[in-house]
């Protein structure tokens, strides 16, 4: 104590500062390198990112800056898929500098902020309500129907990025459609067709597999894998780490599936079920979820086999029962009360052709043609984010396969139907379809 008394004031301050810096450094390094980084979270993370919120460096630089390309690393493919209406490249020309005076449209972070729950919308992102106004304030002069509309009403009908089902020419082309299409049918997968050649390559393995017995074998015998000659070794023999030598593994992971189903695995890793694995974190479990989940499912670790049960790979189970085995929210639990589900039951029973029933996967993991009209390649999209929010993303690939556009858009904006799982017709009607109709009629009469 005598020693401290002898020290002058500034020396004490210096020692205090040094000790504080050392303590802060040690604390920070320990937390940064250790497992628990919750102390660094500045606020609740959004519904699309909380799964990986403790993998700070997925988005942040070491000193808590935000990586320039953090958003696009995961979301660029999606923006390309939706024909982004406002890509950053539209704003790079100096001739458009005036558009950037009020908001920097180059940067995702201008509109979308993380860890600010009070500003986060139901859609899972922060979205300023006034950004359209800065560039489109004169829209009332061009479109008399838009005159006097509030600056915060644009997003009722438009999106900044994805307007595939909302642009005027498309609306005009799909006016006056019936609520229910005469041919209500979802496209069927073409996956098996593309794997047709595998049978001959792996045929020699089948004889060996037929000697096996047990439940796994029975399940495999019922599977499409068996029909196509995909046998034990094709999944269970995997390359050893840092080597091309293959070794037997009892529990093949998603990398095993990837050898034949790469697009599907990539989708899974990009979505909410697989995004933890994509970041080299432990698998997502229902226990971690924010949505209500069934108590008995809490221990499950999500991988390909969580929905596509090993050996049997029953896609009908994966399409609905697998979802229902975990999800316990009102939307999920109301599904069995809907006409969609009744049709699904009929499809499973073989009473109606495949494609006429509606499962959970029909809407959330839809079958989409990624080929052309002439050479269709219909695949199941395994990233549920691509068709979730805003829900207009579902309009074209899903709803409009069976319903008219007007009915579809009315249903998608009727928020009560989300909880009821679309068990009744929409109770709201969008005025904008009438505006389009009036514009078309006015043009035709001139």
């Amino acid at each position: 104590m005598e020693f401290i008394k002898k020290m002058q004031g500034w020396k004490l301050w210096l020692i205090w500062l040094l000790l504080s810096l050392v303590a802060t450094y040690l604390l920070a390094m320990n937390a940064w390198q250790g497992a628990d980084k919750t102390m660094f979270l500045p606020g609740q993370t959004t519904v699309g990112h909380y799964q990986i919120e403790l993998k700070c460096d997925a988005c942040h630089t070491p000193f808590m800056g935000v990586k320039q390309d953090a958003c696009l690393e995961c979301h660029k493919a999606e923006l390309d898929l939706v024909n982004d209406s406002h890509p950053a490249k539209k704003f790079t020309n100096p001739g458009n500098a005036h558009l950037l005076e009020h908001m920097d449209a180059h940067q995702c972070l201008t509109c979308h902020k993380e860890h600010v729950p009070k500003q986060t919308h139901a859609m899972g992102v922060t979205v300023p309500t006034d950004y359209c106004f800065y560039c489109h304030e004169d829209i009332g002069k061009e479109r008399p129907t838009h005159e006097g509309l509030g600056f915060d009403t644009c997003l009722d009908c438009h999106n900044f990025h994805d307007n595939r089902a909302l642009y005027e020419d498309f609306l005009a082309k799909n006016l006056d459609q019936p609520k229910h299409a005469v041919k209500a049918e979802l496209p069927l997968k073409t996956l098996l067709r593309s794997y047709g050649e595998m049978q001959s390559q792996s045929q020699q393995n089948v004889a060996v597999e037929n000697q096996l017995k047990g439940q796994e074998h029975e399940n495999w015998m019922l599977s499409v894998h068996q029909q196509k000659g995909v046998s034990c070794n094709d999944c269970h023999m995997q390359p050893m780490e840092a080597s091309s030598v293959k070794q037997w593994t009892n529990s093949p992971d998603y990398n095993s599936c990837r050898s034949c189903h790469n697009a599907e695995v990539e989708g899974f890793l990009g979505g909410r079920h697989g995004m933890r694995l994509a970041q080299n974190l432990s698998p997502m479990t229902p226990q971690m979820a924010r949505l209500p989940m069934k108590a008995e499912s809490m221990h499950k670790e999500l991988s390909c086999n969580s929905c596509h049960t090993a050996h049997r790979y029953d896609v009908q189970y994966a399409a609905t029962d697998a979802c229902m085995s975990c999800h316990d929210d009102a939307h999920s639990n109301n599904f069995t009360q809907t006409t969609h589900y009744k049709l699904w039951e009929k499809e499973i029973a073989g009473d109606i052709p495949a494609g006429q029933g509606v499962s959970c996967a029909s809407c959330h993991l839809p079958r989409v043609n990624v080929g052309s009209k002439r050479n269709p390649e219909v695949r199941v999209m395994h990233n549920q984010n691509d068709y979730l929010r805003p829900n207009e993303k579902m309009a074209r690939p899903v709803c409009m396969k069976c319903h008219g556009l007007e009915f579809t858009l009315d249903a998608l904006v009727d928020s009560t139907l989300v909880e009821n799982n679309y068990d009744r017709p929409p109770s709201v009607h969008l005025e904008s379809m009438q505006w389009v109709k009036d514009r078309v009629e006015a043009r035709e009469s001139n």
């Binding site: 490249k89 020309n93 100096p94 001739g95 558009l99 061009e142 009209k373 514009r439």
Partner: protein, 201 residues
């Protein structure tokens, strides 16, 4: 000694490569020539390439394909229902412009018009407004050249007339639901290409 030699050799190579000089022997003698190219010459050359590419795409791809009953050009060519169609010439031009903007800041260009289908493509800066008045008044015979400062950067700005080279240009613009003008004729100035070259700070 070996390390020092290696370092010296590397430095010489780097200097020669960057054109900054040489070691032991001069790469060139006499005063260094003035670097760069006159922005007006560069803008004219760039526009010559743009105009040639665009005209050839319009006449030899879009029109030829349409006349032969093959693939049509469609404004909604990106739509999944329209997958087999070609982009319109103006869209092709804009896409290339956006791609250039992503790759380099040494120049930029845009298609604008006093009568645009999309109102966002109206002339905006004072120089653009003055330039479009000029090229429209002289029937597109002479380009406009000027300088302007945008967001703190100085630019050489050239504006060239964009002339209707095909009947399809005229029909499409006159009949478009959002056009503010319906009396374009073949050979009319329908808009202009704004080429900008930064002049340094």
């Amino acid at each position: 000694m070996t390390i020092r030699k290696t370092l010296l050799t590397s430095l010489c190579a780097a200097l020669l490569f960057t054109g900054m000089g040489g070691c032991g022997k001069q790469a060139s003698s006499g005063p260094a020539p003035k670097a760069g190219i006159d922005p007006k010459i560069m803008a004219d050359a760039l526009f010559a390439v743009m105009e040639a590419d665009r005209t050839i795409y319009t006449r030899n791809v879009v029109k030829r394909s349409k006349d032969a009953g093959l693939v049509k050009a469609s404004e909604q060519w990106k739509d999944e229902d329209d997958k087999g169609s070609l982009p319109l010439p103006a869209q092709m031009f804009r896409m290339a412009s956006e791609r250039v903007s992503e790759k380099t800041e040494t120049f930029s260009y845009q298609l604008k018009s006093p009568w645009p289908v999309n109102k966002q493509n109206m002339p905006k800066t004072d120089v653009e407004k003055k330039g479009f008045d000029f090229i429209v008044a002289n029937g597109g015979k002479e380009p406009f050249y000027g300088e302007e400062t945008i967001a703190g950067k100085k630019y050489f700005t050239a504006i060239y007339a964009d002339v209707a080279v095909s009947p399809a240009c005229v029909t499409c613009h006159n009949e478009h639901k959002d056009t503010p003008r319906t009396d374009f004729k073949l050979g009319d100035t329908m808009g202009g290409v704004v080429v900008r070259i930064p002049l340094g700070s």
